[in-house]
Structure formats: structure tokens, C-alpha cells
């Protein structure tokens, strides 16, 4: 059931990507509305797929990299759609939809988890930890997209060549507002995610912080985003410098999310979860 929904959602994301692409090329509002509708349907299907999987597993499906990437894709698309409700940035969907497709495709090619989740996975703290961290990842991915958009706009305005594409691009201040909100919300969720993670670690492993590679990289990521927020609020780094920093921070975030788990052994790595959990019934 959840697999069927999963593939259906992916199909809708792909469809939305194509329609949004048509929008970017033709600049017709009709394509934008259609793309947005398809993306919304895809996201609702995706939400249903995750909900069904949750019920089937009895735990939030985030034990493997496959499931995490799937959640990541859901968070990116959801963040973009929800932020789009408040900020009329039409091209945002055109950027978020393909990113969602890539994350979801990556999830689809990975092998599914073989073992059933252990009871520790059903902890409320872990669910909170995973949900907030995933929400943060989605929002910060949108921040990165916003930063790219900001750089593009800034470059076009400075190049003083205002082509037809430029006419439909949002204004700088709107993109700035998007980055501001996404960053603020993303950073808050990330902070909550780290606290709930620490509480969960204390409950399950007996210590709040174990200097595990994932924890260290998470801390680095968190500090980077704290610096990004600080420079934005205090020193006014909203322009190109802020955008580059946002992109760099997201790069580190991606490494923390995917790279650390694959390259560095530790209890946080996706394969190790079941064994750690298994050791502590």
C-alpha cells in the first residue's frame, strides 16, 4: 500500500517538475497553477504513503537511509509548498519539485530495510527528534534554493540585462523574505531536533552527548546556521555573502545527513541503528 502511494507520489512530483519547467520556459501562469496543483496532490499522496508506512511499521519510517531520504524529499516539497502559501514566489516550486524528485529517486534505488524496527524506535523522543530534524532539513534546503535564486537575481540585476525570463522572477526582497523565514524556522526546528535527540540519547544510551561523528557534524552544521542567522540579524548579511554562506551551510548539512552516515562508523549511522537498538531492549 505505502509502496504504491510512494510511486504515485513520485510520478506526481515528476509531472509537476515537467509542468513547472514548461512554466519557466513559456512564462505562462496557467502552467504555474497546474504545476502547483500537481505538486500539492503529489505531496498529499506522499504524506499518505508515509502515514501508511508509519502505521504498518508502528514507528516513524526513518531507520534506513532509504526511508530518511524519502522523508527528506517530503520535507523539501512540503516546506516549499507551505512557504509558497505566504510568499508568492512562483519559481520556488520549479526548484523544489526536481529536488524532491532527486531525493525520492535516490531513496527508491536504495535497498529497503530488512529488519523490523526495534522498540526503541517507537519512542516519542526519537519520533520528535527525527520529525524536527527532517523538518529543519526541508526548510534549510528551501533556504539554499532561495539563496541560489537570490544570487541569480542579484546577478541579473547587476548584469543590467533584463530578459523576458527576468520579468517573471520574483523581486529580491521577496526572495529575501523567503530566506529569512525558512532560515528562522529551519534553525528553530534544528535546535529542537538536537535537544530532543540529546534527551533520547540520555534515555536510551545514558548520556546526552557522546561525540559520535554524526553528533560532531551536527554540531558543526548547527553552529554554521547559528552564524548565518547571527550575521543576518546583527550584521545584515542578507546579500551575496549571506547567500553563499547559506549554500555552504547546506552543503555541510548534506554531508552530515548522508556523508557521515556512510563514511564514518558510529551508532548514528543508518545500518548501526538496529544493532544499537537491539543491544538495549
Amino acid at each position: 500500500m505505502s509502496t504504491a502511494l510512494h510511486w504515485l507520489a513520485l510520478a506526481f512530483y515528476l509531472g509537476a517538475t515537467v509542468v513547472y519547467l514548461a512554466f519557466v520556459i513559456s512564462q505562462r501562469r496557467g502552467f504555474f497553477r497546474m504545476g502547483r496543483l500537481i505538486l500539492w496532490i503529489g505531496w498529499v499522496l506522499h504524506t499518505a504513503a508515509i502515514a501508511v508506512a508509519w502505521v504498518e511499521l508502528g514507528a516513524l519510517p526513518a531507520a534506513s537511509l532509504r526511508q530518511s531520504l524519502d522523508l527528506f524529499s517530503w520535507a523539501i516539497v512540503g516546506s516549499a509548498l507551505l512557504l509558497n502559501l505566504r510568499l508568492a514566489i512562483m519559481v520556488l516550486g520549479a526548484l523544489a519539485a526536481p529536488l524532491g524528485v532527486v531525493a525520492m529517486l535516490a531513496a527508491s534505488v536504495l535497498p529497503p530495510a530488512v529488519q523490523a524496527p526495534t522498540p526503541v524506535f517507537k519512542s516519542l523522543w526519537l519520533t520528535l527528534h527525527v520529525a524536527t530534524v527532517m523538518g529543519a532539513y526541508g526548510l534549510l534546503a528551501v533556504t539554499c534554493l532561495g539563496a541560489l535564486l537570490y544570487l541569480l537575481l542579484d546577478w541579473r540585476i547587476r548584469a543590467k540585462k533584463l530578459g523576458p525570463l527576468f520579468k517573471r522572477l520574483p523581486s529580491l526582497s521577496l526572495v529575501d523574505a523567503l530566506n529569512h523565514r525558512a532560515l528562522l524556522a529551519g534553525f528553530t526546528l534544528m535546535t529542537v531536533g538536537m535537544i530532543t535527540g540529546a534527551v533520547y540519547a540520555q534515555l536510551v544510551l545514558g548520556s546526552y552527548w557522546r561525540w559520535d561523528p554524526k553528533e560532531v557534524w551536527s554540531l558543526i552544521t548547527w553552529l554554521l546556521y547559528a552564524a548565518l542567522l547571527h550575521t543576518r540579524l546583527v550584521s545584515g548579511w542578507r546579500g551575496r555573502r549571506g547567500a553563499w554562506l547559506a549554500i555552504a551551510a547546506f552543503g555541510v548539512l548534506l554531508f552530515t545527513f548522508i556523508g557521515v552516515g556512510l563514511l564514518m562508523p558510529g551508532y548514528h549511522s543508518f545500518d548501526a541503528f538496529t544493532t544499537v537498538g537491539g543491544g538495549q531492549p
Binding site: 537575481l153 540585476i157 547587476r158 543590467k160 540585462k161 533584463l162 527576468f166 522572477l169 520574483p170 523581486s171 529580491l172 526582497s173 521577496l174 543576518r232 550584521s235 545584515g236 548579511w237 542578507r238 546579500g239 551575496r240 555573502r241 549571506g242
Partner: protein, 431 residues
């Protein structure tokens, strides 16, 4: 009489070169008198705006006049002749007339249809007239020019839809700030163009416009019209932290907004962007300001890009305007050509009239009837004989004038000489 126009505009030359050749306004009468001392120049007029420098002269021979005028224009400007040559255009005869008509009708403007240029040409004409540099030919030409510009304005919609530099600036501001509601603008310098831009901004939601000017009284006057506040130039550094859009249009030879000033303002603005529109020649904002993070700088040339779209949408109106210009050029050239034939025609008619009167009087004397119906009938007869006989030669003289470039000008001169020989009218007087 021939007409030569030498100039450069926003399309042929960058703003740096235009400012090199544009003398400061009070200098223009002196420059005109200088030009009047040139051997070939009979009459001269100079239009110098932030988008163009045009020199129009009337003289005898086209080619040497064009050469002298070009040399005189470049004289003293720190520009290499080769560079200048590439940027200059030289028009003669009907092409010079057409160019002037097109410029005045705002068909050659950075933003087609913008209304300022006509006023600037009127001002240039007034300056030339006061300096004694505009006489019969240029007076007539300029009056015709104003008529053509007015005709184009009333008979086409080229001006009514005027997407001016000002509204191009508004479009850009909206790309940066999205909604202009609640934004503040600062005018530095109180030029006509700046006022227009400010009105556009106010019309799109900008809620306050401050005016800074060297002479405070002018700033106060303008700010009262715009409903803002006035200050001297020294106040600029302080308000840069508050305003979002800055329009500069001073005549200052030194930049008003330096990189250091802009950086200091940005620091106090906490990264809120600042949009500079520099419509001054020479520039008021250092180009390096545009490289700062959060600073956007557009000068007059940059606004061309934005104005491009507006130009295309009004292509049909522009074609209608071009047709008006074209027919007026023909009319004026006919007048100008007629001007050359005038001495010959009047000599011819004077000679014919003298012969008629002499012969008529002799016949009447022989008949012994200097009064009465018969005398009147003979007077009518001779009059119409002369008129009908001269009709074709005069048409021929005038018709020969239709030629417009200097080659047919030579042909025209030969025709006139021939007519003078045929009727034994003597040498053409030098004018």
C-alpha cells in the same frame, strides 16, 4: 545654403565620451561664438543633454563645413580623434534636417516619446538666438522643428504611452523592493528628469521623497511640490541610511556618492539594499558603488536596456511618426532649395517686369492713351503674357532644387548659371 549636423548620442558613444564633449551650460554661448568665427559657418546651434551632443550649422559648402565643425567639436576635449571619429555621426542636407526632426519628436531618444528633449532643444535655440548664432535659416528650421514635434505628439500616441526613463527606473525598483509602499526616496539635485522620476515613484507607492540640493531654495521649492523635506548636500550622508532609492541628477563635476559613503550607509542599514539611479552627466555616483553587496547602481546608459521593451511595443506609433517627419523634411528642403533660387527668380521677374513696363509705356505713348479701358486691357495682356512665359522657367529653376545631396546641389548651381546666361541676368550674387 547647406546644413550640417555633427553629433553623438547614447547609442554611438558611452556616457564618458558624451560628458567630455558637452560643455557646461554657461559655456555654450562662448562656444557658439567661437564656432561662428569658423570660415564655413554662417549659423550654428548646439544641443547638449545627458544623452546627446548635437551641433547643427548652416554654411555654404557641406564637406568643408562638416570637417571644420568636427574639428571644432573635438577641440580641447581629451579624446583621441580615432575614438571620436567612431562615435560621431555627420549628417548633411535633408539628412541633417531629418535627424533634427527625429530628435525633437523624441524618436531618437533613449526612451522614445520622452517629453524633455523638445524643451532642451527650445532652450538650445534660445541660447543660439541670444548669442546671435541663429539667423534666417536656423530660425526657420527650428520653428519648423517645433511644429513637427508638436504634430508628432498630437497625431501619434508616441508620447502618451511614454514609458520614460522614470518608469523604467520604477520597474527596476520593484524588482529589488517588490512593493514600493512605505519606501523612501531621495533626490540629489533638482533636475527636471529627477522630478519626473520622483513623481513616478510616488505614483507607485513610495511614501516620502526627500530632496537634497546644493542651493537649498531650489530643494525647498521642489520638495514642496513633492510633499517631502528639503536639505543641503551635506545632509546626504545622514539620510542614506534611511532611504531606499536614490536618484542623482546634479551637475557636479565630482561624484557625490563615493564608495566610502555608500559602504558606511550600508553598514548602518544592516544590509537592506540601496538602489541608486544616476541620471547625471558627469556621473554623481562612483561606478564602484554598484559592486557593493546590497547596492544596485543604474546610470543613464543602463536604463537603455530596460527601455528597450517599451520601444518595440510602440513600433507602429513610431512608424506613423517617421512618416510625418519624412514629409516635413521634404517640405523644408523645398523651402531651403527655393531660398537658393530666390535671387535668380527675382532677377528674372524683375527683368521681365522692367521690359514689360518699358514696352507697355512706349506703346501707350505711341497710341496716345495712357489711361482708360484700353490701357488697362493692355496692361492685363502684357502682365499675363509675362507671367505665362516665365511660369515654366521659374518652375524649372525651382524644380532643379529638388535635388538634395551636394552633387545635385552642384547640378542646381549649374542650372541656375545657365538660366542666368540665357536671360542675361549676370553673375549670381554671393551670399
Amino acid at each position: 545654403m547647406n546644413l550640417v549636423l555633427v553629433g553623438l548620442n547614447h547609442r554611438t558613444a558611452p556616457v564618458e565620451l558624451r560628458e567630455c564633449l558637452a560643455p557646461p551650460e554657461p559655456e555654450i554661448p562662448r562656444r557658439l561664438q567661437e564656432a561662428m568665427r569658423l570660415e564655413q559657418v554662417r549659423e550654428v546651434l548646439m544641443v547638449a543633454t545627458c544623452n546627446r551632443v548635437e551641433v547643427l550649422a548652416a554654411g555654404e559648402d557641406g564637406d568643408p563645413l562638416a570637417e571644420q565643425l568636427t574639428r571644432w567639436l573635438a577641440d580641447g576635449a581629451p579624446v583621441r580623434p580615432a575614438v571620436l571619429k567612431e562615435s560621431l555621426y555627420v549628417h548633411q542636407g535633408h539628412e541633417a534636417v531629418r535627424h533634427l526632426f527625429r530628435v525633437a519628436a523624441s524618436l531618437d531618444s533613449l526612451v522614445v516619446g520622452e517629453p524633455q528633449i523638445l524643451g532642451q532643444i527650445k532652450e538650445a535655440f534660445r541660447t543660439a538666438a541670444e548669442a546671435g548664432a541663429s539667423r534666417s535659416v536656423l530660425n526657420r528650421l527650428l520653428h519648423k522643428t517645433f511644429q513637427v514635434a508638436k504634430k508628432v505628439r498630437t497625431e501619434t500616441r508616441i508620447g502618451s504611452a511614454a514609458v520614460s526613463v522614470a518608469s523604467a527606473a520604477v520597474d527596476l525598483a520593484r524588482k529589488i523592493f517588490d512593493d514600493l509602499a512605505g519606501r523612501k526616496a531621495l533626490l540629489i539635485g533638482a533636475g527636471e528628469m529627477a522630478e519626473l522620476a520622483a513623481e513616478h515613484l510616488l505614483g507607485h507607492g513610495v511614501n516620502r521623497v526627500m530632496v537634497a540640493n546644493r542651493t537649498l531654495s531650489r530643494a525647498v521649492e521642489l520638495s514642496e511640490r513633492l510633499g517631502g523635506e528639503a536639505m543641503g548636500l551635506s545632509g546626504v550622508a545622514d539620510v542614506l541610511a534611511e532611504v531606499d532609492i536614490v536618484i542623482t541628477s546634479t551637475g557636479s563635476p565630482e561624484p557625490i556618492i563615493t564608495r566610502r559613503l555608500a559602504r558606511a550607509a550600508l553598514r548602518r542599514r544592516r544590509g537592506r539594499p540601496l538602489f541608486f539611479i544616476d541620471i547625471a552627466v558627469p556621473r554623481d555616483v562612483e561606478p564602484k558603488v554598484g559592486e557593493l553587496d546590497g547596492c544596485y547602481l543604474y546610470d543613464v546608459d543602463d536604463l537603455t536596456e530596460v527601455a528597450e521593451a517599451g520601444r518595440q511595443s510602440r513600433a507602429a506609433e513610431a512608424r506613423a511618426a517617421e512618416r510625418i517627419v519624412e514629409s516635413e523634411v521634404v517640405k523644408f528642403m523645398n523651402w531651403l532649395a527655393g531660398l537658393r533660387a530666390v535671387p535668380t527668380i527675382s532677377a528674372l521677374t524683375a527683368k521681365a517686369e522692367a521690359i514689360r513696363i518699358a514696352e507697355l509705356n512706349r506703346t501707350l505713348r505711341d497710341l496716345g492713351q495712357s489711361e482708360g479701358p484700353q490701357a488697362q486691357a493692355m496692361d492685363r495682356l502684357t502682365r499675363s503674357l509675362v507671367k505665362k512665359l516665365l511660369h515654366d522657367p521659374i518652375l524649372f529653376i525651382k524644380g532643379g532644387e529638388r535635388g538634395q545631396d551636394h552633387r545635385s546641389r552642384r547640378a542646381q548651381r549649374e542650372q541656375l548659371a545657365m538660366v542666368r546666361r540665357i536671360f542675361n541676368l549676370g553673375q549670381e550674387p554671393e551670399d
